[in-house]
Structures are given as structure tokens and as C-alpha cells.
Symmetry: C2
Subunit: 294 residues, 2 copies
């Protein structure tokens, strides 16, 4: 069993990005600039945004954090989005999700200029990804592809089971794993809450990508010997053993599944760090205007 060290791969990729940025700046180019809008003070969101700001520092990006009050209106948020759309110094920006219930996430996502949508959530980027055109690929699926690449894991003709059909992970992951490319060319099955045969599908899978958000859902009896298991789950379960009072828990019951795997990602330290690196990669692409010219 080989543990997939997302943290180490992420650190290496960040160094590569940093080196490219220094070269870019040295040659008179502009330092990439990522902005983030954070509404309220949700614990998870604070952690993610702080990690993104820190990653920007490591990569040599300019970063801007805009904080909005949890009670602020949708209109206020849309105004900030509009301002960032027009700000020529900002290459890409994100609105940290989830948003408070009185704000429509979809409306906000669609208000973002797709050429600055480094989260890859805008319909134009989602559509272009599905078709196979250059676009900002959403961060978590993109990070998983990078892990598969880094560990040279074969995907062509393999049976890949994606657990979960979220717009942010499950659906784009399925689209990417079936594309004519490496990683890709897999036979892809998407299972979800209404699937009746998840166990049977998983038992046949060469690659399982678990993104249900159900702690410890994937057990050893669902995994075949030699499978590759990618765990996207990051549920915060209460814990008395950690300083923070919670423990990040994946969708895979690691202790019993790991011994059967050829490769497996831990939680934390697997997919998580890669997600942030993918956001950095998209920001670099935005800074270089490598996807869209406007």
C-alpha cells in the first residue's frame, strides 16, 4: 500500500508555481493577484480562506481578502463581485462557500466574470470542461487529477466509481475521468444517495473517488484488493483529542480500507492540500491569460 502524500505533492507544486511567478515578474510580467470574498466567520470557511491566503504567499501571488458581514445583503455581495470583475489588477477571485441562507449561491456564482472564475463554478467553465475545451477546472477534481498524474496511476480502461454527484466534485470528477486524456479514459460510474447498488459497484472498481460527505462510508468489504482510493470527504466530527475540538474525517474508513489498496489518500493530508494548489494553478493561468484573453 502506497500512501498518497497530498501535502508533499502540494508543496512541490507550490514551489514550481513560485519559481514560475518569479521568472514572470523578473521578465516584467505582473504578479498574479487572487482575491477572496468571505462572508461571516464560519469556522471551516475561516480555515480554508486562511490556507488560501497563505498559499498565495508561498506562490508569490498578491492576495486580497474582502470580509463581508454575515447579515450583509445579497446586493452588497453582488456589488463586491462586480467591483472585482472590473478591477483590472485582480486576475481571479473566489467567493468562499457556503454563503448564508439569505444569499443565492448560484446567483453569486453566475455574477462572477467567467474569465476570473478560478473556482471553475461558472456555467461557462463547467460547460467548457464537459466539452473538453480549455477552462478553469474546479479545484478539487483538478487536484485529484494531479495526484493521479504524480503517482503515475493508470486510468485508461479502468473502472472508476465516483461516489457523490455534487456540482463541485462528483459531476466534474466524472466528466474528467471519462475524457479522452490522461488521467481519464476510464469507465466511469457515478453513485449517489439514490443508488441501490453502491457496494456492488465499489467492489468492482479499480479506482474509487469518495465525495459523499458521509464519514467512514467506504468500508473494507466494499473495496477490492489493489484498488486506488481517493477520499474527498472532510466532515468535521467533534473530538476530545484535538486542540480545535474536532477531527477532519474522510468518507473512507481508512484503517480497514488502507491495507487493501494499492494507493490511498489520507484525511487530512490527501486531497485537501491539492485543492488549494489547484486554485493557485488556476490563478496563475488567469494571471498569464492562458485560458481567456479578456
Amino acid at each position: 500500500m502506497q500512501l498518497i502524500d497530498g501535502k508533499a505533492v502540494a508543496n512541490q507544486l507550490k514551489l514550481e508555481i513560485a519559481a514560475e511567478v518569479e521568472l514572470l515578474v523578473k521578465n516584467g510580467g505582473k504578479r498574479p493577484h487572487l482575491a477572496a470574498i468571505l462572508v461571516g466567520h464560519d469556522g471551516g470557511s475561516e480555515t480554508y480562506v486562511a490556507a488560501k491566503v497563505k498559499a498565495c504567499e508561498v506562490c508569490g501571488f498578491t492576495s486580497t481578502l474582502i470580509r463581508l458581514d454575515i447579515d450583509g445583503s445579497e446586493h452588497d455581495l453582488l456589488e463586491q463581485v462586480d467591483r472585482l470583475n472590473k478591477d483590472e489588477d485582480v486576475d481571479g477571485f473566489i467567493v468562499q462557500l457556503p454563503l448564508p441562507k439569505h444569499i443565492s449561491e448560484q446567483k453569486v456564482i453566475e455574477a462572477i466574470d467567467f474569465s476570473k472564475d478560478v473556482d471553475g463554478f461558472h456555467p461557462v467553465n463547467v460547460g467548457r470542461m464537459s466539452i473538453g475545451l480549455p477552462c478553469f477546472v474546479s479545484a478539487t477534481p483538478s487536484g485529484i487529477l494531479d495526484l493521479l498524474k504524480y503517482y503515475q496511476i493508470e486510468t485508461q480502461g479502468k473502472k472508476c466509481v465516483v461516489l457523490g454527484r455534487s456540482n463541485i466534485v462528483g459531476k466534474p470528477m466524472a466528466a474528467l475521468m471519462m475524457q479522452k486524456a490522461y488521467p481519464g479514459n476510464a469507465t466511469v460510474t457515478v453513485c449517489h444517495s439514490r443508488s441501490t447498488d453502491i457496494k456492488e459497484e465499489c467492489k468492482k472498481a479499480d479506482i474509487i473517488i469518495a465525495a459523499l460527505g458521509q464519514p467512514n462510508f467506504v468500508t473494507a468489504d466494499m473495496v477490492k484488493e489493489g484498488a486506488v482510493v481517493i477520499d474527498v470527504g472532510t466532515t468535521r466530527l467533534p473530538s476530545t483529542r484535538t486542540k480545535s475540538g474536532f477531527k477532519l474525517t474522510g468518507d473512507v474508513l481508512f484503517e480497514e480500507v488502507a491495507p487493501k489498496c494499492s494507493y490511498i489518500t489520507p484525511v487530512p493530508g490527501g486531497v485537501g492540500p491539492m485543492t488549494i494548489v489547484s486554485l493557485m494553478k488556476n490563478t496563475l493561468l488567469a494571471g498569464k491569460k492562458a485560458i481567456y484573453n479578456n
Copy 2:
């Protein structure tokens, strides 16, 4: 075994559309207007476009057919697209594919105003469909959903195998069958040219949607007793038995597969007529500005 009569369903849906259009016009509304651009004189394309024009008549739509020379430049075609984008009388339009090789299909598709893209091929419509937002759903997958609905075929929790990963059928079909809706909520597997286990996947399938474009690919040994089989294939094979000199041939070896099925579509007369009706439905939606307001 129940034969799915796409022609009959299509005719009924066209009558329903026609009734709605007459009511619309009676109430002072505008008659929906579909335009089509046809480049050259490809036999298949001529047939399809003629069928679309005829369907417009039945539905009470205005239709316009614009013919361009096979040697015309990409620039000429893009000019026509731009003209139709701006023509306020035209509610929706299509560029009949395939295009001659010197013209980029993708460039042309992206040049179409997505709010008039009744084929549903523009990235905005593809992305919105994947996310689950109102959009123009591409015609063939949409027609298949209508057939499943018409025959009240259960899809929730069923294993649905989609053969083929084209942008026009396979990928959107998979996205639709996994969506939280009826028809949908299926466990979806996409197989394609690089899949090594197509037969095994098909044997487990409750629903097979064959869109590989490989005549008679699906044989009886690949289909389980009681399965629903939807055949999207329409390969033109030479034939001495028909006046036209060819025979439309599906991806399913109908004679041997049909007896095992609970439902099956014939070729011709199955999915084909529904595809055109879906285009009519999208045009009606465009005419009513039911999806986009601009």
C-alpha cells in the same frame, strides 16, 4: 416486450406544441421562428434539415432555411450566425452539423448566442444542464427523457449504462440520468472506445442507452432479461432493399436483443423522431422566452 414508438409519441407531442402555438398566437403572441443554416448538400444533413422544416410546419412555427455553399468560408458562416443572433424575429437557430473540415464546428457553436442555441450545444447551456439549471437541453438526450417519461419507465436507483461519450449524446445523457429528478436518479456508467468491460457493465444494466455509432454493437448476450434498451445509433449502411440505397442501422442488434427487453426503441422510428420534437420544444421555449429573458 414493449416497442417504444418514438414516431407516435413525437406526433402527439407535435400536436400538443401546435395547440399551444395556436393559443399563443390567438392571444396576440408571436409565432415561434426557427432558422437553420445548412452548409453544402450532405445527404444525411439534407434529410435532417428537411424533417426539421416539416416539423416546424406541423408545430405552426415560422422556419427559415439558409443555405451556404460547401466551399464558403468560416467567416461567411460566422457572419450568418451573427446576423441570426441579432435578428429579433428569430427565436432560435441551428447550424446543421457536420460542417466541412475547413470550418471549426466548436468556433461556430460558441458564436451562437446561447439564448438562441436551441440545439443546446453552447458551453453555457451544457454547463447549466450539468449544474441542473434551466437551459436548452440538447435534443437527443431530451427526446430520450421524454420517451422514458411517456412510457413511465422507472429510473430511480436503476443502473443505467450509457455507451458513448460524445458531447451531443453520451455526456449530456449521463448528466441527465444522474440528476435529482425524474427521469434521473439512476446510477450511471459511461462506457466508450477505451472501456475494457463494456459487456460486463451492460449485462448488469437495467437501462442501456447505446450511442456509439457502431451498427449492431449491442448483442443479446450483453443484455439482461427485462432491460430497457434505447438505441441512438443511426448509421447509414448500404442496402439494395431500399429505394434510397441505404438502411438506417442502430447500435443494437434489434432482432436478437428485442425479445429480452421490457422496452426497446426501433431504428428508425425510435429516438430519431423524438430528437426533432425536442428541437421544436426548445424553439417553443425560446419563443416564449421561458429559459432566458433577453
